[in-house]
Subunit: 406 residues, 2 copies
């Protein structure tokens, strides 16, 4: 029976399936092992040399005479109650791409690697991008000691599946990669809203994660005149709106306050303190730097005007990853070959490509997410768009695997 | 030994005193009974006819030939870890006022009543203003079934002190009152900041308590462009600032958002829902009505512009209580007699006078709260200001108790 991408997506979606239509497959669980073993069989069926590396990354190699590999990858793990496309499409789409190239009797000049990275989502241990970090030779030892909700460390969970945490360093193979392409669902509403079918990612946004606390003066809501107040929530509200205004004027910037708390929290007490988070994303190195400076100055100005003090802690600052022009060009040419002019865009979400792209030329293509929904049982991408993505990926791999100059 | 107001305040502050310098005396507890009994003795020592009514209100009567009573009252219960002036000063100041009038051999034409109302704060059962509500003949039966943190009903707590909940209706005596005067600490910063010594209350603000929920669309913080967001916290921030702007332009209006929550609350998720409280206070019947209309329209407008929907629930709407010009005039004349021009102001906090004032001509005078602090061990009013307040109260009672026309 002929294997199809839609059939493969159906089959994968049954592994770790939940009653609500969602899927839960977390790092180093039986569900993730099962889907990985199933994908390994498909890779072997296509004649690839299959191995699982020391970090749990599944890699199938199509050998070729010369040069560094052209790699297509994504991940098979999910968020809790996740959807059937996020990550999986990039792996199964790469398998479909190999089928397409096999059917055309393609002979690559350079090796083609198809991979599924371990634990992109970090759902179980809070250790997102573990597999691609290890593949890139980054120090992941801290992640090995992370514990899941039951107190089990990742090291213990790996050992239960026959992996030795002390050997994850052996997974570092990114220097053998000459080009990297990742097919992914957009996870945002842009393509769907514009009826575009392919997105061409120019950069993966950098992410700044702040915890902010503003301190004013808690006082009686009834007896403190407006002009004598130092209301921390008023200050926070100004920050929320300044962030919104800033992002609205800059398409490649996003800003979100997702969590907020006013203290002491009495209905008749002026908030003396307000704590909130800020998620700032910027697509270029220049804007990533500039937004940090702007943000801290803006908070300070609001506080000066409101008679507040502020504490701004940056929990994480992951710089943007630009995609490589040569890979992006190959994806674009492949899309044009399908009669599609891809929409150039930035990725506001993180992906394995943001790690690999730091070490090797990388590119990404997006297919539409219905209504922009992801990380949900309602996540959906039309079969035709998945297939189109696989065809574009196949042709991009073909173009890159014929080049000897990169 | 001569009794003094400062000595009395010291003595009362020892009853229910806590290690942190605060005081806890709640309704129907041994601490509140002890301080009430001690005050009863002081009233008897002054020759007043003392009784405790069916609602636990302590009333001392200075008989006189004719007319309705001139009443001076406040309360002896406290908030948890409260201060030594809130409420107590109004009762002990009234005792001091009687001493002053006795020393001057004053003979009232009308009776003078000195009272301590039961449970003004509602700290134990959430039944604020219980005693004055009963005194005013309001239906307090729902309060009788309220439970404290240990599950004890007020009815049970009353019974343990020999009171019969079914008889609280007998406490209704407000129709015997011809004028009511309450001395209280300001509980706000205005007098202290302006170095004023006496505040003359023109009205007790009405209070509107709203719970508001704004609903938008939860989405990925990284992948949803600004123009496609329906961020409930952005809407809430606009409401917070609109309230602030409105109140800043209207001295007799106050507006406070004391509690706020964004949902789902992930740092990288656009808030799909935001819940917050609004405390709106207005001093006049006209503004009380107008602000309700304005508030609901403003929320609707913000939501229309942001693509949100709203639910606005009004938890309580207590209309403002105007003070009676004849009582206010007596207080003002008394203050002028002390060489003080009192500062006309509104009370943003609630007091027993807001109940009595609905049925009988009522007035209030404030003395300064250091830095505006109350409901705290740090609550402080200078001895000289307490004594001045008692002298003004004494002369106001004298003026009112000589009148036969009200």
């Amino acid at each position: 029976m002929t294997r199809t991408l839609s059939g493969d997506l159906e089959a994968a979606a049954r592994i770790g399936a939940l009653d609500d239509g969602g899927i839960s497959r977390f790092a180093w669980t039986p569900e993730l092992r099962e889907v990985t073993q199933w994908v390994a069989q498909e890779l072997e069926r296509l004649g690839l040399d299959v191995e699982t590396d020391a970090a749990g990354n599944l890699i199938g190699r199509w050998p070729a005479p010369a040069g560094k590999a052209v790699m297509a990858a994504s991940h098979l793990d999910t968020v809790p109650h996740g959807g059937r496309f996020d990550g999986v499409l990039g792996v199964l789409g790469a398998i479909e791409a190999v089928r397409i190239l096999r059917r055309a009797d393609f002979e690559p000049v350079r090796p083609i690697w198809i991979a599924a990275f371990m634990d992109e989502e970090g759902s179980r241990f809070g250790t997102a991008l573990f597999g691609s970090r290890a593949f890139c030779g980054q120090d992941v030892s801290a992640s090995l000691d992370a514990r899941d909700a039951d107190g089990i460390t990742m090291r213990e969970a790996m050992a239960a599946q026959g992996f030795d945490g002390d050997r994850v360093g052996e997974a570092a193979r990114v220097d053998e990669v000459g080009a990297y392409v990742e097919l992914h669902i957009e996870q945002g509403p842009v393509l769907d809203a514009r009826s575009e079918r392919v997105g061409l990612v120019e950069a993966i946004c950098g992410v700044l994660g702040y915890r902010v606390a503003l301190d004013g003066e808690a006082n009686h809501a009834g007896t403190t005149p407006s002009e004598m107040r130092h209301d921390a929530l008023v200050g926070a509200s100004r920050v929320v709106l300044a962030l919104r205004e800033r992002a609205a004027a800059r398409p490649e910037l996003s800003a979100t306050v997702g969590r907020i708390r006013a203290l002491p929290g009495g209905t008749n007490v002026i908030p003396g303190r307000c704590e909130f988070t800020v998620d700032l994303r910027a697509a270029t190195a220049g804007s990533f730097e500039a937004e940090q400076v702007w943000f801290e100055r803006m908070v300070a100005e609001v506080c000066a005007e409101e008679g507040l003090t502020s504490t701004v802690d940056c929990d994480y600052a992951v710089p943007p990853t630009p995609m490589a022009p040569e890979v992006t060009a190959a994806i674009e040419a492949a899309a044009l070959g399908e009669g599609i002019t891809p929409l150039r865009m930035v990725s506001g979400a993180g992906h394995d490509a943001m790690n690999v792209g730091l070490y090797a030329p990388a590119g990404m293509l997006f297919v539409p997410s219905r209504a922009g929904v992801s990380h949900s049982p309602d996540e959906w991408t039309a079969v035709e768009d998945c297939e189109l993505g696989a065809r574009v990926l196949a042709d991009a791999l073909r173009r890159l695997a014929l080049r000897t100059d990169i």
